[in-house]
Structure formats: C-alpha cells, structure tokens
Amino acid sequence: MTVSDVLMVALGAVAVGAAFRVVRTQHVVRAGLWLVVALGAVAALYLVLAAELVAWVQVLLYVGAVVVLLLFAVMLTRAPIGASTDLDRPRWSGTLIGAGSGLGLAALLVDAYRWRKVAAPPSGTAERIGNAVFSHWVLPFEVLSVLLLAALVGAIVVSRPDGGGR
C-alpha cells in the first residue's frame, strides 16, 4: 500500500458512500448535495490518477454546472424540500440488477487485475490532453459541437413557455 493507494481507498469510500446516499436518501435536495460529494470524490480520484485536466473539467462541468442544473430542476418541479416517503418504487428488482451489475463488474475487474501494481501514469496536463485532442480527436470534437448546438437549441425550444407565437 502506497500513499496513493490509501488515498484512493479513502476517496473511493467517500464516493461510494456519497453515491449510496444519492440513491437512498429521502430528501430530494440532499440527494443533489450528496451527488456533489460523490462527484467531487471522483474528481479527486482523477487527480490521484494523474488526470489533472479531467479532474478540473469534472469539477467545473459537473459540480459547477450539472448539479446546479439538477437543483434548479428540483426547484422548478416543486419537489418537497423535506423528506418524502414516495421517492422510491418497490426496490427488489432494482437491487437485484444494481447489485448484479455492480458486483459482477467488480468481480470481473478484480479477476482481471488482481492485486497488480502499476506505475503511476504521466500526469495528464492540459497541454498533453489538448495535444492529443487536437492531433487525433478532431472529428469527435467537431461532431460534439453539433451535438452541443443541437442540445442547446433543443433545450430552449422545448422549455420555451407556451404561447410563443407558434
């Protein structure tokens, strides 16, 4: 166990714990807040794994934007602030499938990697990633721009209030 291992275990525990709260809490707003914790812990994990740029993008985009968006949605749909009793459906099938997928995947990964040790990868600085993106991944980048544009326009047209002329 190296320092990074200890960190990863700790952050992983935080992420998993927070994620557990996200899917189990009876408070809609708290779920959003726990999500912040979980995503933050994952971002920290990225840092440990030397993916700096991704980590910061995660913090900015997820913690900054997505979660805020989600909380807005919670408010807009007039979700109760306090605890609710009817947030969940009967959960045996969800438990079965969720546990199956999670544990099965974990088993596969454990089977594949055992307790193997690897060297830490070179740091994923913005420069390196940027280089990679703009030397090899221009096509998806460009297509992504169309995607984002479509998402933008679409989200606007769908959320535009009624009586907008059309």
């Binding site: 969800g94 997928s101 596969l108």
Partner: protein, 615 residues
C-alpha cells in the same frame, strides 16, 4: 389392324358411341334415343354374329395406349371362339332389352339417358369380352358397375332404388379392390397387362395363388357370389329390362367370363380353385334356398341367378371352363327370357308380388308359354337349354370327384353334391313360381292382358334359344369354339339330376295341391323367414361392415376436426396468447424499460463470461 379386329372393336364401339351421343340428347328426343339404342345393339349383334360364324383363328391385335414407366397399357383386342359366342349372347340380350324397353318404359320421361346407359352397359360388357388387355378390361368392368348403379337407380318413384343402386356399386367395388390388386400383381409380374403376355409369364405358385385369389374377389363381387352376393337381390329395384340385362348377359356373367379368359392361371393355382369350389357350393345352395321363400317374382329370379352363376363357378372350380361357358350361354338365354317375361307379368298386373298374381295363364297366354319355357330351362327339364348345360356341369363335377384333375377330389364331391341338392331346390321354387303366378284363382284386381308387341316379340325371340340352345352342346363345332371336344356326355349318374328335378317339382306341386290358395312355401315352416331373408347375411354385412365403417368415419371426422385441425387452431391461438403475455409483460412504467435494458445487459454479460470461461 386386320379387318376382323376392326369388326371385333365394333362390338364395343357401336354401342359406346351410341351411348355417348344418347347421353347428351334432350329428354324429349325419345324416339331418336330408342332408335339409336336399337341401332347400336343391332350393329354389335351383326358384328358378333359375323365374327362368330366366320370362325378362323383367334384374333390378337392392338396398339399401345400409354406407358406407365415401362408398364405398357395396350388397346388390344383378343377374340377367340368363346369371346365371339359370349359377344353374340350379350348382343342378343342387349337388343332384346332395347326393344323391350321402348314399350316397358313408354311413360318414362327420361328415356334418352336410360337408353344411352343401356348402350353404355352393353359397350362395357363388350369391352370386357373382347379386350386383350387387363387394364382395358378393367375399364369395361367398372363402367359396367357404374351403369348398373345408374340404371338400378333409374326409377325415381321407388324409394329403395337409390339405396339399392349404391349397394350394387359399392359391394362390387369392394370386390374390385381385389380385382385391381390382382391385375396389378399379374401385370407387374409379366411386365405387361396384355392377357397374352400375362398368360405367357412365369409366375411363382405363391404369387399366382395370391393374384388369382385377388381376382376372385372381384369376380365374386361382379358375379354375385358369396359373400359379395348381397347386392343382386336388391338390384331388383331397377326396371325389369335392366334386371334382365344385368342377370343374363352382362354384369354377373362378366365375372365368370373373366375367369375363363385367364383360366390357365387358375388351373395352375389349385388353392384358388378350391376356394372357388367352396364359394360355388355355398352360393348355389344359399341362392336356391333364398329363392324358395321370396314373394317378389323378380327376387325369386334374382336369387335363382345367384344360384345358377354358382353352377358356372362350380364348373370352373373343377376345371371345366367350356362347360361353365356353356351354362353361361344357356343361362343368358333363359334368364333374359324369364326376366322379360316376368316384366310382362308385372306390366300386366302392376305388381311384383306373387301374392297378388295367380291364374294368369288364360289372360296372358303368350307370356305363360314363354315363362314356362324359361322355368323349364331353369329347372333343367329336358330338352330345354338348362337341362343340357346343368347336366354338363354336374357331369364334370362328378368326374372331378376322383381327383387328379385341376382340382382336388373333395372339391368335385362338394360341387357335385351341392349341385344335386340345388337342382332339387331349383325345381321346387321354379314350380312354385309357375303355380303361384299362372294357376289357381286370380288374385289381381284388374283385368290383365298380354303385353304390347314390342315387349312380346323379344320374349318370344328369347324363348327360342332357351328351348333349343342345349342342342348346340351336342355340336362339335360349337364345343370346339368353347374350347373342348364335347360338352355333353351322359352316363349313369345323369339320372340323379333328373331324379332331383322330379322330386323337387313334385314336392312343390304336392304342397300346392294341398292348399292351392296358400303359398307352398309355408310348408317349410319356421325356415321361411330365414330363407326369405337369405340367412340374414344382409344384416350381418350391415353390422360387420357398414356400421363400423360409418362409425369409423364419424370418429375420423371428429378427430380430424378436433385433433389435427385443433392443433393448428391451437397454434394460432397459442401465438396470440403468447402475444398477450408479451404485452402483459410490457404493461409497466418507464422504469421497466430501463430495467429491461440494464437487466438484459447484465444477463448478456453473465452469458458472455460463462462463454469465455468455458472456452
């Protein structure tokens, strides 16, 4: 094709063509139809007589009709002396029937099809007579069956006619199953269906026995031999001339004729001959005994036919085909005469029932005379035709008792004894009929008088051969045409049939004398219903064959609809039900869809892992 072969074809072709024309005539073209029918029969008769008198060697000519995978079917004519003589008999009877029918069915509004069917019947029989190919023979054989069906069912006023017609065809058809199989077996063994080839082929004894036994089934059907005789008495539902046609020269004679045609095969199969002998003996007595107790004049004659044909079978069973043919010819003459004369009686009194006849000899003198000749021939009174031929049959049977011939000795004994007993019974019932119809006090209400000339003349004409044909048996040329040197031989045993005749006739006369008003049959006491119902064989047949078949049919239909079709329908319904289940499974909220996707992925992953690990 030689000219004589062409003449031979004319036997069948003339009535056949006439029949086809007649079938499309409108119902009102009565005279034309009658003329056509008579013309057809006349041409056939002329041709037959010409060929019979021409003599000369047998004709065998033909051409290939079709080829079934190396099995050729040929349109072959094969005419020898026998065929020519039988053809003459057929033509004579046919002509007589055609002429007779004009008057007998004077008020029938569907005469053209009737006349055409009679012509077709004649043509079919002629085809059987002349054909040198078994398949073509089968054509004639079966067409006769269907003509009998049509003609028996002709009378629409009789409620039992359709039933009798169906019965006639079906019973013979059952026999024909065997006939077809027998022909097929022979044809396959010989590689050809030509009779000449079949006769020349070498068949193993077992195969030969099987084939001839199968043929025998068909013969029994057509010739009304036990156990397939049940159709014949019922066939009386047809018009009387048709009965004459069926009984005298066509249908029932065909069976016997075909056996003589293929006789070498039968001679080589002693087991078949033994079976034939047993059948003949049983049928002979059965028919004669049944004839004793009938009230319907036509039924008496019908049962007598059964019994008389059995004489021919008996002759065949003991190895004497010429004698069988001799009896066939004389029987053709007197049985046609009997039926046509009986028709005159029926025509005169308007009923078939002998209980309502009696004392008719004065009002119907011509009919009386002719019927008397016919009955005498039937009973075997010398010197009428039946005496000579029946005596010949008994003589050959007596000879066969010693064994060493074609058949075993016991077959000869059986046929001989049965023949003698039958001669007695025949004399008895012939006398009874004669007395009941023509003597005693008249029981009919209306004043009867002799039939019109068109009916009278054929009867008179037929009386001639009935009386005289027997003498032909003494003629060497005639015998040679039938295939033997001499037909008639007398020895000491010839007295026995005469004794039987006298005994039978005497018993009947005695019984009648005692009480002229009552039926002599009452002397038989409790046996009467048994005889009248022909030992209840109809009921047996009904219970053993008809009812089970119909029950089976109902079961099969029901199971076809419920099981076979039910499976199909169930498959369809099952698919729809499965569809309902699928839809019911999809009756969930959105999360169900997501769960299916995730769950499906998990399952697929598990499957893949198992697949990879098991490699």
């Amino acid at each position: 094709m030689t000219g004589r072969a062409g003449v031979a074809w004319l036997f069948a072709a003339a009535p056949g063509i006439v029949a086809l024309v007649g079938l499309v005539l409108p119902n009102r073209a009565r005279r034309l139809a009658a003329g056509l029918g008579i013309a057809g029969a006349t041409v056939a008769l002329a041709a037959a007589v010409a060929l019979a008198t021409m003599g000369g060697a047998a004709i065998e000519a033909g051409r290939r009709l079709v080829d079934f995978g190396g099995l050729p079917v040929t349109l072959t004519v094969r005419v020898d002396g026998r065929a020519a003589l039988v053809a003459v008999a057929v033509a004579v009877v046919a002509l007589a029937v055609q002429v007779y029918s004009v008057a007998y069915l004077a008020h029938d509004d569907r005469y053209p099809p009737y006349a055409a069917q009679v012509s077709l019947f004649t043509a079919a029989m002629m085809l059987v007579v002349v054909s040198g190919d078994l398949i073509v023979l089968l054509v004639g054989w079966e067409v006769m069956g269907i003509c009998s069906y049509l003609l028996i069912g002709h009378d629409r006023t009789l409620p039992e006619a359709p039933r009798a017609a169906v019965k006639a065809f079906l019973v013979t058809r059952v026999g024909d199953v065997g006939f077809l199989l027998g022909i097929a077996l022979l044809g396959l063994s010989a590689g050809s269906f030509r009779i000449a080839d079949v006769l020349a082929a070498h068949l193993s004894p077992a195969r030969l026995t099987v084939a001839t036994l199968l043929l025998l089934a068909g013969v029994a059907g057509k010739s009304a031999q036990f156990p397939l005789h049940t159709w014949l008495p019922d066939a009386m539902a047809g018009p009387t001339p048709i009965s004459a046609l069926i009984h005298a020269a066509t249908m029932v004679a065909a069976g016997v004729y075909v056996v003589t045609r293929l006789y070498p095969l039968f001679l080589a199969a002693p087991a078949t001959l033994a079976v034939l002998g047993v059948v003949a003996a049983v049928t002979m007595l059965l028919g004669a005994l049944a004839a004793t107790a009938q009230d319907d004049i036509k039924r008496v004659l019908a049962w007598s036919t059964v019994s008389q044909i059995a004489y021919m079978s008996g002759a065949l069973a003991v190895g004497a085909a010429p004698v069988a043919l001799f009896h066939l010819l004389s029987h053709a003459a007197f049985k046609a005469l009997l039926f046509l004369a009986a028709g005159c009686v029926i025509h005169a009194v308007g009923t078939n029932s002998m209980a309502r006849m009696g004392g008719l000899r004065r009002s119907l003198p011509v009919t009386f005379g002719c019927l008397t000749i016919g009955l005498a021939a039937l009973a075997g009174v010398p010197p009428f035709a039946g005496f000579w031929s029946k005596d010949s049959v008994l003589a050959v049977a007596a000879q066969a008792r010693a064994g060493g011939g074609a058949a075993a000795g016991w077959v000869g004994w059986l046929v001989w004894l049965a023949g003698l007993a039958t001669a007695l019974v025949t004399a008895w019932y012939a006398t009874r009929l004669w007395l009941r119809v023509f003597f005693g006090t008249p029981r009919a209400g209306t004043a009867a008088h002799d039939a019109p000339p068109l009916m009278r003349w054929p009867v008179v004409a037929l009386a001639v051969p009935s009386a005289l044909l027997g003498f032909a048996g003494l003629d060497g040329a005639f015998a040679r045409r039938l295939g033997t040197d001499s037909l008639v031989s007398f020895d000491a045993l010839a007295v026995l049939p005469l004794a039987c005749l006298v005994a039978g006739a005497g018993l009947a006369w005695w019984a009648w004398r005692r009480a002229p008003a009552t039926d002599p049959v009452s002397a038989l006491g409790r046996a009467v219903p048994v005889f009248a119902n022909a030992f209840y064989l109809d009921a047996v047949q009904d219970a053993a064959v008809v009812r089970p078949a119909l029950a089976l049919a109902r079961v099969v239909r029901r199971s076809d609809e419920s099981i076979v079709d039910g499976t199909v329908e169930a498959t369809g319904h099952g698919a729809v039900r499965l569809g309902t289940l699928v839809m019911r499974a999809h009756r969930g909220p959105l999360s169900w869809a997501a769960g299916a996707a995730l769950g499906g992925a998990v399952l697929a992953g598990v499957a893949a892992v198992i697949l990879v690990s098991s490699r």
